[in-house]
């Protein structure tokens, strides 16, 4: 993990409201170039919403997202072309397409076939299992293999920033370790900046440079894995002791 000091992604006071529910309430965070950063917290803390806000998939009512010095105000399809890829929660592979076709969906818009082939080879090198089964339908894969496919599909966009939403959700413990290893490899070998939302705290703290802890739509802690392990912040947020209740995240109706 070779992180520079330059902040490439920055969220400034982001607020996201789903109707009357405040999913994010003034979240500010930054990710340096080449860094791997985790976003953690209990259910409903707003972890996935952070990623969706970056991708233009959540209703941001206040605040700004900055990417490499410029404000990111584009629509999702333009954000992808800025070099940001999102691997959504739950794998969501296309089961009626083959593995190779699934991978190609990550960069189908590319006109350069040679570049597509190069990316495909690069992803297959990282995930050899995808090569062995490339002609099979995605529905024939196991959960762990589908997760590898989902990450590989994200990498087909050759992202500078890879956003991963709960990549180990619902996977067997032995596969969880494998997925974390791959994420670490992506960060180290491909020098891709990674932001990962994860509920498996022990595992994710092994592979990231820094982590943010969210609770009820706010950042309650930020630091290195060591600093988080030394404090009780995670115990506090998971037991609901980190900050006073905000009426369960509800706001007054306008």
């Amino acid at each position: 993990m070779d992180a520079s000091n330059e902040v490439s992604l920055e969220l400034r006071d982001i607020a996201v409201h789903y109707g009357a529910v405040r999913a994010l309430d003034g979240v500010s965070l930054g990710v340096r170039e080449g860094e791997a950063v985790a976003v953690m917290g209990p259910n409903g803390a707003g972890k996935s919403t952070v990623l969706k806000a970056i991708m233009g998939l959540a209703p941001v009512v206040a605040g700004e997202v900055h990417w490499r010095g410029g404000r990111l105000e584009a629509e999702t399809h333009e954000i992808v072309r800025e070099g940001i890829c999102f691997v959504p929660q739950g794998r969501r592979v296309f089961t009626h397409l083959s593995i190779e076709e699934n991978l190609e969906m990550g960069c189908l818009y590319l006109a350069d076939d040679e570049e597509k082939r190069r990316r495909l080879e690069s992803v297959i090198e990282l995930f050899p299992i995808l090569h062995e089964k490339r002609g099979d339908m995605a529905s024939q894969m196991s959960g762990g293999q589908q997760q590898m496919l989902a990450i590989g599909r994200g990498l087909m966009g050759a992202p500078d920033l890879l956003l991963l939403d709960e990549p180990t959700l619902g996977l067997a413990p032995i596969v969880v370790g494998e997925v974390f290893e791959k994420v670490r490899e992506i960060s180290d070998r491909l020098d891709t900046t990674v932001m990962i939302v994860e509920h498996n705290i022990k595992g994710v703290l092994e592979i990231v440079d820094r982590a943010y802890v969210l609770d009820k739509g706010r950042v309650v802690h930020e630091g290195t894995p060591e600093s988080i392990r030394e404090t009780n912040v995670l115990t506090d947020v998971f037991l609901g002791r980190a900050q006073p209740d905000r009426d369960d995240g509800e706001i007054d109706e306008p």
């Binding site: 998939l57 999702t76 399809h77 992808v80 890829c85 959504p88 009626h96 076709e101 966009g157």
Partner: protein, 347 residues
């Protein structure tokens, strides 16, 4: 759980199709329909075969075009008949013979264009209407999409019936011409059939090019998970709109052919029931396969025409009996083979 539900589950679990490989079921279904078609045509002779094949060609164009939307993209539309009607009425209004004495009642201005001048206009108007409607429909999916497409079928029928200054309402429009290449008019049934089959081949080719291209793969991905494909930078609404418009234009072509073949149209040809039958054909044949739509259209035409010849069925009940048989067939198929005869995807 009710006894009926239990019985149905039992039937499905131990049903005759269970355990038979998919390829075999598809092969058997295909052979059965084709044998049925050949046998029926041999029995009825050349004249009836030509009529039957022409009807098949028109329904097949409609079914293949609708499958693009329903089967390949996952948007269950029950309003496709509206575009069929637009193509038919555009052809009728632009090309019907102005001198014909139909115009003594509820006369409408007809420019008396040749078939090939009216045809592209009919296709284009169907596409333009689809574009306008699609911009609104793009907001919807699943059950709501079914409802709004249902609404479109009703609205379009109302237009055909009530816009009398243009459509002559319930009187219908007569004397719609056959295609003509210079002085060669395709007024023979065989010539028209050949022309209809060329149109069908063209539509099948276009659909095949679409579904085997990267565009087609995006459609499959949209059908499976619209949100997941959007995060890879695809503008889902544009893809859906494009396939919707293309499909409507093909339906417009089918409508123009239909109007020219029958030489008379009225709003009864474009009622909601016809639209439901069309959707049933697509599901019956199989979703997300072009071959399925061709097979579904053939099975439907054979069923529809074949029932005329059942000796125990009085002629006045043939129409209703067709609908009952098709309805029962659809229910049985959904119970035992929800993907249709040769389908790749089920609703």
């Amino acid at each position: 759980m009710s006894l009926i539900t239990q019985a149905m589950r039992g039937l499905r679990a131990s049903g005759p199709l269970r355990g038979i490989p998919r390829a075999n079921v598809e092969r058997i279904a295909t052979i059965l329909v084709l044998v049925w078609a050949v046998g029926f045509m041999l029995w009825q002779g050349a004249g009836f075969t030509i009529t039957l094949t022409t009807v098949f060609a028109i329904w097949a164009i409609l079914a293949v075009s609708l499958n693009l939307v329903v089967g390949f993209t996952g948007l269950l539309s029950v309003g496709h008949i509206g575009f069929f009607g637009i193509g038919a009425y555009t052809m009728a209004i632009l090309a019907s013979d102005a001198s014909y004495d139909q115009l003594r009642t509820e006369s409408i201005p007809t420019p008396d264009w040749p078939f090939f001048a009216a045809l592209p206009i009919g296709i284009a108007i169907a596409g333009l209407v689809a574009l306008g409607v699609g911009v609104v429909f793009n907001r919807f999916r699943d059950d709501i999409f079914v409802l709004v497409s249902f609404g479109f079928a009703i609205i379009s029928f109302s237009f055909f019936l009530n816009l009398r200054e243009l459509t002559r309402g319930a009187f219908g429009i007569h004397e719609i011409p056959r295609p003509a290449f210079g002085g060669w008019v395709l007024d023979g049934e065989v010539e028209f059939l050949a022309f209809a089959l060329v149109c069908l081949a063209l539509v099948v080719l276009i659909c095949w090019l679409i579904v085997t291209s990267s565009f087609g793969r995006v459609l499959t991905a949209i059908r499976e998970d619209e949100e997941a494909i959007a995060v890879f930078g695809y503008r889902v609404t544009h893809f859906k709109l494009a396939v919707w418009v293309l499909s409507a234009m093909m339906a417009g072509l089918a409508g123009a052919l239909f109007a020219s073949w029958t030489s008379f149209i009225d709003p009864n040809s474009f009622i909601l029931l016809e639209s439901m039958l069309l959707t049933a054909i697509v599901i019956l044949g199989g979703l997300a396969t072009i071959w399925g739509s061709l097979l579904g259209a053939l099975a439907f035409v054979l069923l529809e025409e074949g029932m005329r010849f059942l000796p125990f069925l009085p002629p006045e009940f043939v129409g209703q009996a067709r609908q009952v048989v098709l309805g029962v067939l659809l229910v049985v198929l959904m119970l035992f083979r929800p993907q249709g005869l040769v389908g790749r995807y089920q609703l």
